[in-house]
């Protein structure tokens, strides 16, 4: 009898093990090493415990991630089941049929897809289909040192100021003798580096990348005025060696108290306002990114989002993880375990209305308003055939953006004139767009 029982329980256990292993799956996620993704890695074991699945994290540097995932997805390699991608890649890859559609997320009442800001969903969709769900979204706004502004007798702007007014403010707080530079802006070449800021600056000056016939506009008077302004501002009031400074370097400089102003990603606010990481947490405040000839496209739009490559063999499990990682419960879990100031911003309306977030991070409201002021579908003063504020959502933009970024960096370094930089940029863009068939 005992033996029979033993055999029976052994058999049951074996069956459970077999069925368990049949259900449990291993998924591979490619990601970058940003703070919000690190938090997700720390919390993911909860999903693994609940579902019995296992996650392999592949953490890569951003450019390597982009190249690696593009290569894998375009060759149907199937190395990854989930990828962190941005607002630039999602519509292009979705249109190419490289990503699994997430339209069925709308049917899940508990997930509440409509709680995710419409603007963000639009940015992660192509031809009416949703291809990625956001972990966080950002625009750009102005970080400034309230103590230095007060000392210089400058009141916090209540309305969007112009870049001319901004330069005037910067001149008053520029104090290199005491190690504080008037402004720190991105100078490192790259479509995702200096061109993110320069792109919005150009929009503010009324410039556009292409006209309605896809003719490049880089030699226009608007681009000329914008780049002259940028080079003058940075030469007079920027830190030395600004062409080496990207987002990370400026963030470090600002947190160390070396910059009086900085126009950059709203997603850095949590870090800058965290006294454990920043010397200027208590004396940093924000206002909208300046305008000039127009207020359109003056703050950029970006989102880091999770997508499933069409080549994945584990789409259902991947979708289950996506729902968990972008659910209301996930954001609440981040707040409860890591502190509400660490909750990723710009994703869900209900989270932005949560009193716990508003208490811990009063600037969350400013971020939300800044994100809502952006419209990637209408980014410029004059009409354009593209979407995207600081980028143009076409595959050719990476190459063009990088080239223009290098010319702008060369102009900033004094290696060439602004006119020569823009003329070379225009020639390159015309060549690339002709080659790609946009210009006949």
């Amino acid at each position: 009898m005992k033996l029979k029982k033993l055999l029976l329980s052994a058999g049951t256990m074996a069956m459970m093990a077999v069925s368990g292993s049949a259900w449990a799956e291993e998924i591979t996620i490619a990601t970058v090493n940003n703070n919000d993704m690190i938090v997700m890695q720390e919390l993911a074991p909860k999903w693994e415990e609940a579902t019995g699945n296992k996650i392999n994290w592949v953490v890569l540097e951003e450019n390597v991630l982009r190249q690696r995932t593009t290569q894998d997805i375009s060759t149907n390699g199937g190395s990854f089941d989930i990828m962190f991608i941005g607002a630039y890649e999602t519509p292009i890859w979705g249109k190419n049929g490289w990503l699994a559609s997430l339209d069925d997320f709308a049917d899940d009442a508990a997930y509440d897809l409509n709680d995710i800001f419409q603007l963000v969903r639009n940015g992660l969709s192509a031809e009416g289909h949703l291809y990625a769900v956001p972990l966080y979204s950002e625009t750009s706004f102005t970080y400034y040192r309230s103590d230095l502004f007060e000392k210089a007798g400058i009141a916090k702007p209540t309305e969007q100021i112009t870049y001319d007014q901004f330069a005037e403010m910067v001149s008053k707080v520029h104090d290199p003798e005491n190690g504080v530079y008037g402004t720190c802006q991105r100078g490192k070449a790259g479509w995702g580096e200096n061109m993110a800021f320069v792109g919005t600056l150009a929009n503010a000056f009324g410039a556009r990348w292409f006209d309605e016939q896809w003719q490049p506009q880089l030699d226009s008077p608007e681009w000329n005025a914008a780049i002259h302004y940028y080079v003058d501002l940075m030469t007079k009031y920027g830190p030395p060696g600004a062409t080496a400074n990207g987002h990370n370097e400026n963030r470090a400089l600002f947190k160390d108290g070396k910059c009086a102003t900085w126009v950059d990603a709203t997603s850095a606010a949590n870090d800058v306002k965290n006294p454990a990481n920043s010397k200027v947490a208590d004396v940093t405040d924000f206002f909208q990114a300046p305008k000039q000839a127009t207020d359109k496209g003056t703050g950029w739009f970006w989102s880091w989002a999770l997508a499933i490559p069409a080549s994945s063999q584990k789409v259902d499990t991947a979708k289950d993880f996506l729902k968990w990682a972008t659910s209301k419960e996930y954001f609440q879990m981040v707040g409860e375990t890591k502190g509400w100031v660490a909750v990723p911003s710009g994703t869900r309306a209900s989270i932005h209305e949560d009193p716990r977030l508003l208490e811990a991070a009063p600037f969350a409201e400013t971020i939300k308003n800044a994100i809502f002021s952006v419209d990637p579908a209408d980014p410029t003063r004059d009409p354009v055939p593209y979407t995207g504020v600081q980028f143009v959502a076409i595959p050719e933009f990476q190459g063009i953006g990088n080239f223009v970024g290098q010319q702008v960096a060369a102009a900033l370094a004094g290696q060439m004139s602004v006119e020569d930089a823009l003329s070379a940029s225009q020639d390159f863009a015309v060549r690339e767009m002709t080659k790609a068939g946009y210009i006949k």
Binding site: N34, N56, V58, V59, E61, N248, A252, L253, D271
Partner: protein, 277 residues
């Protein structure tokens, strides 16, 4: 007879050599210093050697907690040792035939093999990626071992060829006269005589395979990723993690540095083998 060198020249030479040594070692020293700083100290501008917030070993524990160092380490060991040994199996017979039974085109063949190293690897990335995809070798240690063996093979053959050329052919002839077959000749006569050369070839190729980053980053994901992928994961587009990146770098290069340190005598002996006849 050795040429007489004045004390003054000796001093100048020592100072120049010392300065060059310090300059070459400085980046590694800087990484070591950064790895013991807090992130805030590590990015402080201008960079300071002093530790305002004190020394810390937190970076090492954080890196180990966040990424599985030992998995990456074992992948590095398997891939670098495997590719080197596999390379030797192919390269010893190849170098033997070219050194002792040269044909009219042997020199051209050698040059052709070396020329494959002149091509940028990205040029063959997509075809190799597709082959790996179709044969199920993506993200596998076997696949990576084969690729690293192939890319280092020209160097292994060239090095062994140079060493084998220094061995008098008459010794091999004598072995043949004593009845040694081809296998015995290579295994029991040639190989023992070329041990210093083979050892330095092994060491150099382990170092090359250990540090190889292009193929190891492009052909792996989670399972076969070696230490190069481990380092790369600490570079971030939003937030500087210099201290953790430095700690990860130290953890990745330490094994190969220690190996190089202990085997430097062998390495130098092998590299200079046959330089003076």
């Amino acid at each position: 007879m050795a040429r007489a060198v004045s004390n003054k020249t000796k001093t100048i030479n020592t100072v120049i050599a010392g300065t060059l040594g310090v300059l070459m070692f400085f980046p590694i020293l800087w990484i070591i210093i950064l790895s013991f700083k807090t992130e805030e100290d590590a990015v402080r501008a201008p960079l300071e050697v002093l530790f305002q917030s004190g020394w810390t070993t937190d970076n090492f524990s954080t890196v180990q907690a966040r990424s599985d160092y030992f998995r990456h380490f074992s992948n590095s060991v398997i891939i670098s040792l495997g590719s080197t040994l596999l390379g030797l199996v192919v390269a010893i017979p190849a170098a033997w035939s070219m050194a002792f039974v040269p044909a009219r085109r042997t020199k051209d063949v050698l040059m052709w093999m070396l020329s494959t190293k002149m091509m940028p690897p990205v040029g063959v990335l997509v075809p190799i990626y597709l082959i790996f995809r179709d044969t199920g070798l993506l993200d596998s240690r076997v696949g990576l071992t084969v690729v690293l063996m192939l890319i280092n093979l020209p160097i292994i053959i060239w090095m062994l060829y140079t060493y084998f050329r220094e061995i008098p052919g008459e010794i091999l002839e004598a072995a043949r006269m004593d009845g040694a077959g081809l296998k015995e000749e290579i295994l029991y006569v040639l190989t023992p005589m070329a041990v210093p050369g083979i050892a330095s070839t092994i060491l150099l190729n382990i170092i090359l395979a250990w540090n190889e980053a292009f193929w190891t980053l492009n052909l792996t994901a989670a399972n076969a990723a070696p230490l190069t992928a481990f380092i790369a994961s600490y570079s971030s587009p939003e937030g500087l993690f210099y201290a953790k990146l430095s700690a990860a770098s130290i953890m990745a290069i330490a094994p190969i540095l220690i190996m190089g340190w202990f085997s430097q005598k062998q390495l130098v002996r092998g590299l200079t083998f046959g330089a003076v006849k």
